[in-house]
Amino acid sequence: MAYLKSVGTSDALLVEYEREFQDIVVYIIYIKNKSEATFEGTNTLDVKDLINSLIKISGIESDIHPDLRLVCLKVIRKVVELEYIGATDPALDWDDEWERYAEEIEKKQQMLIDLGVIDLVCDLIAEEEKRVIKEEGLLVAVALLLGGNEDAQEKFQNYVNNDKSNKFLI
């Protein structure tokens, strides 16, 4: 029991857990190369297909288990954050050093924005009952807006303009 408690509080173990999670996300990002090599071009998967599936299964109308919805959001967030080599913290906590990777980060932001991640994030922040999912949604929002991505800003603004029930962030 003491060991289990230490798993939740040990900094070293938390960093290790974060690294393992990042390895999975790296695998997802490079799924195209891996699946192409494995299936010799007969069944190639693209990262966009996977992200699309994650968006669908974690949508507000899906009855997915909250823990899995949380993991989906975290994977989506990490797609952007992994471009900052060596960082394990959320973009919310980054210092200005991230700007060295601004170009790569913007490419990933654009891919996620084009896939419709912003509507998913806004729906979850506005409608989800579990606070931990709203919090993760906010972390994704920050990762998408990092550097003041204008497409992201516009899409968030459109959502707020159409949010007649004023549920978003209230």
Binding site: L14, L92, V132
Partner: protein, 107 residues
Amino acid sequence: MLTEAFDFLKETQCGRNELKQKLIATEKKIEDMESMSALNKLQKKELNKLRDAKKIIIEDIKATDSDDNENPAAYITNDLSVYRAIRNSISILKYLQLMCENHNFAS
């Protein structure tokens, strides 16, 4: 979310201020009693009571501290803690700041 976090922080920090005032008053009473040359049985009992009360107040104040070692991965309920409420407020303010980024016009 921001309103909830703000309300929670207002409530806990007002409570914290009250507890700190109580602590100061209790410490003063203890000091006064300790400076008395001889205490009778009743006064000794009162002094012990005050010391116990001081311990309880210190514990209550600790509960209103922000625990920076709190692990967000351990959150399983919707309940806020001081650290969580501050973190939520920072996230929302960062979001708002990023929504304004690149729209700053030089005067």
